[in-house]
């Protein structure tokens, strides 16, 4: 029986629990024991889906202390001897995973989007060269298989119920991480583009059109998203960036306005149901991914479509 440790990021509990699917694909249903390391009080569905949930005593470690979490993961590994350690590649998980890898002496394969096993070997697939290529990677050495997994690439639909054993980890982190949280200001309007059914995204060809993109998004009850180029130019915040260095999205409709569709961007788009691309370059890669392509300038297209939608609205209200 294989043993798999999954770190539960308090800020992304469902995404973390979904890593059970990655474990299932590696070892097969019922052929591994699942351990969750959860710091926060609320670990969502982990209780009921994992075989074991390990929680440090309340208040022993701040939830932003990646060094302490790496220490806990290492102590658990010494006790249980994991075959694989999985961490969600969330902003915080991206600090936890490398620190844990060093502790465990394991090579870390980051941002994994696909896993399978071949004989005794676990093969992990991750984007390389800015998402232009897919690299199949294995871990070497004596440590466990160690990976960070891109959120929302695996969905644990099997949801096989478990009788979960709860273990309270009675262990004090001996070090001092040297980091103290002084203040936390929540940002309003924090709706996540990954939860929106419609995304209207702008790229390098639409840098000055974001107010119109916003209007179109409102008309379609969706949200505005952006490519890396648009974010780097300051046209949109990083939180709405789609792609390998941004977010994986899976909307019903993705409007790509002035986006060339580099594979870096396309990497985040695989789960989109349908894509409408607006581009002046008919050879742009996005055009071969789209269901519908409008060849032309984004500004005049947006003006035209918004006028048409407005007329439709007037018609509806009028009659």
């Amino acid at each position: 029986m294989k043993r798999v440790l999954i770190y539960i990021d308090e800020a992304a509990v469902p995404d973390s629990v979904d890593l059970l699917e990655a474990a299932r694909r590696m070892y097969g249903s019922g052929r591994f024991q699942s351990y969750a390391l959860a710091l926060g009080g609320d670990c969502g569905d982990a209780v009921g889906l994992f075989d074991v949930v390990v929680q440090p005593r309340a208040g022993t470690v701040p939830d932003y202390d990646a060094a302490a979490i790496a220490y806990y993961a290492d102590s658990l590994h010494r006790r249980f001897g994991f075959d694989a350690v999985l961490v969600p590649a969330t902003p915080f998980g991206r600090t936890v995973a490398p620190r844990t890898a060093i502790r465990l002496g394991a090579g870390l394969v980051a941002d994994v989007t696909e896993v399978r096993s071949q004989g005794d070997e676990v093969l992990m697939v991750r984007p390389a060269f800015s998402g232009r290529m897919l690299a199949t990677v294995t871990c070497r050495g004596d440590g466990p298989v160690m990976m960070s997994v891109r959120p929302r690439t695996f969905f644990y639909r099997e949801r096989e119920a478990r009788t979960t054993e709860l273990i309270a980890l009675d262990l004090d982190y001996p070090g001092d991480s040297g980091i103290r949280l002084l203040d936390r200001r929540d940002r309003n309007g924090g709706k996540d583009i990954r939860d929106s059914a419609v995304l209207v995204a702008g790229g390098g060809g639409a840098l000055r059109d974001f107010s119109q993109l916003e209007q179109l998004a409102r008309a379609l009850r969706g949200m505005v998203a952006a490519s890396r180029k648009a974010v780097d130019h300051g046209a949109a915040p990083r939180s709405v960036q789609v792609g390998q260095s941004g977010k994986n999205v899976g909307p019903r409709l993705y409007f790509a306005v002035g986006i060339s569709g580099s594979s870096q961007h396309a990497a985040g788009l695989k789960n989109a149901d349908c894509i409408i691309a607006v581009n002046t370059d008919r050879q742009a890669p996005i055009c071969s991914m789209a269901d519908l392509v409008v060849e032309g300038d984004s500004r005049s297209f947006l003006t035209g479509l918004l006028t048409r939608l407005d007329a439709h609205k007037q018609d509806n209200q009028g009659g």
Partner: protein, 266 residues
Amino acid sequence: MRILCLLKLVGDVDNLRYDPERNILVRDDGRLMLNPEDAVAAATALALKQDFPDMHIEAVSMGPLGARPHLEDLVRRGLDRATLISDPRYAGSDTWATSAILGRFLQTQVFDCVFCGTHTLDGGTAQVPAQVAELLGLPYLGGISALDGSSLAEGRLRVDVEEDAAVLRFAVALPAILGFQFDPKRKLPYIRYEDLNRDVADRISVIGNDQLGLDQEEIGLRGSRTQVKSLEAEAFYHKDTLRVGNDPEGIETVFRFLETRGFLAP
């Protein structure tokens, strides 16, 4: 106060092109560019130097010798020194081996803080800074959007980390490794006209494994703990694409498309 800027020169990914017929990546030119978030880190350090003129800022980069002109350029922009860690024996190092090499170098240095970018444009996995921090037993924070320079003298640096849902303010005990996020407003200063051709050769060191002395088993492919088994071009989508022009007819097609699929408010 000594700040080391850990910088990576990356291939200019916007100029990479995939050739599906030959199934290779075409680098239209072999150009390297400073990783954008690393440039933010260096720019932040240089901005601090305005307030703390005694501050010493040194760039550290691991990579091919082709990175040297970029480091010279940074010195002309105001950094005090630069070290290029370059050795053919390091070729093929994964992030594990790279972290070991950088960690070994940093162990030989005296510093108050290491500044770097959080992600690189090419790998984008944000592994190396956190791995180096763990090796050296230092605090590490990534995704930093702002830094309070006035806290520098206190031995604890106040920084802001901007996340989707919140802005977090932390105090970090020094020495520490700090990873910055991209900020289009934070740019490297221009090179002053009189410095354009300044000879800065005496401010650049190039070192390799003869100086760092890592074991053969720790570096390159042999020192790596991950192994790339295969590399393939991502399968491109091929849909039955409908193409229209940007004219009233095209706009009507888009409108009908939205309407028939239920995207319009009833």
